[in-house]
């Protein structure tokens, strides 16, 4: 199996071809980590790059993501068997009072596709649930989403509660959502702000370095 062909199939969003090539790679006995790192990820990364340059848009990113997913479904059990660890554990949710789910769902999917273990707490998540999940899952990063000017204050509240719970030192905090920006992230003491899902993945990887 040719890694370049797999990578190109991801970029084109050709699910069937991704599935066929991944299967063939597994049957040939290729290292599953290589299938992921040399085949699936580079193609997805290129779509992400095009998205950042505004040469591709969300639908193309999602079509490519679907293709990656087709390959991931085949190799995930093998990665587990080989005890290959995820990049980190990412806990995500939309903060208390806010019921918007699309943005955070897309971020969760992109993180998962990029090798993170993701725990998605859903919407309207109170600080206590974030803290509980961070402790239980030993989360490395928490992503706080807010789509309203009236709920973005609960990103601050959640960070304050994480501090009170005594786990702020070991947890990185990322924020996102339509009304927030880097200045807000600085003001409330978040470690990173991401304006879109592909940036979120990059920043999460940087935070774990």
């Amino acid at each position: 199996m040719d890694y370049n062909l797999l990578s190109m199939a991801v970029e084109k969003g050709d699910r069937g071809e991704v599935e066929r090539l991944t299967k063939s790679g597994i049957e040939e006995g290729l290292d599953v980590r290589d299938i992921l790192d040399k085949g699936l990820m580079p193609g997805f990364h290129r779509v992400g790059e095009r998205f950042k340059k505004q040469e591709a848009f969300i639908p193309e990113v999602l079509i490519a993501a679907k293709a990656v997913h087709a390959g991931l479904n085949l190799i995930r059990p093998l990665l587990k068997k080989k005890n290959i660890k995820p990049l980190g554990t990412f806990i995500i949710g939309t903060v208390l009072g806010d019921m918007h789910d699309i943005g955070q769902t897309i971020v969760a999917m992109m993180m998962e596709n990029s090798g993170f273990k993701v725990v998605n707490l859903g919407v309207n998540v109170p600080p206590s649930r974030f803290i509980q999940a961070l402790k239980k899952e030993e989360g490395d990063i928490v992503g706080l989403s807010a789509l309203l000017t009236t709920t973005m204050v609960n990103q601050r509240l959640t960070i304050e509660e994480i501090k009170k719970a005594g786990i702020r030192e070991r947890v990185k905090v990322m924020i996102g959502g339509a009304p927030v920006n880097q200045a807000w992230a600085d003001e409330i003491g978040a470690d990173a702000y991401a304006e879109d899902a592909t940036t979120a993945v990059e920043k999460a990887k940087e935070l774990l370095k």
Binding site: Q54, P59, L62, K66, G97, I102, T105, L148
Partner: protein, 195 residues
Amino acid sequence: MTKVLEDFNIEIDENKVLKYFGYQKGFSSSEIPEWNNVLSLARKTISPAVYNVVSKINSVNSKGIVQFDNHARFKDSILLERLNEGQKGLFFLATLGLRLESEISRFLQRGLYLEGMLLDAMSWVAIQDIIKNLKKTVSKKGTLDFTLIPGLKDFPLERQRDIFRLFSHIKKEITITEYCMMVPKKSVSGIIIFH
């Protein structure tokens, strides 16, 4: 008097949906294989309800309080700067209904992110179309000045509650949370100012 608009035809302009995602002219929706199915689902599931009431501005005082004839009272610097006595406001509250929202969630839960995003984008375009239709209605009554949508530009989201209050006497399928979020999410409120 509060009115419910019936036979409200909503158009989902495909070009506007593509533009919402960032596509320029020349890109065809046919390049997105899921497009047609999602569009037909959007058309099937949108069940709009549109409420509106027209009221004249009674007074604008120096403290920034704008009083409408219908007892709507806003304390807002934006309104103070832009409103004059004699102008009128068409207050509106509209929703695309709960079913559409359930379909979006269903897509997301099944990992069909593209379909969920497309349906979401189409619903925002549908909401724009409701506002466009309301503006058309207003233009038959007078000259349109400007439109205020809570949460957009400098008009605070909290004003949503004030507008909502005007429709409290009617049984409606929209509710508002303590954070001024409307349920169903695909709902909009606003004021179209005209004279």
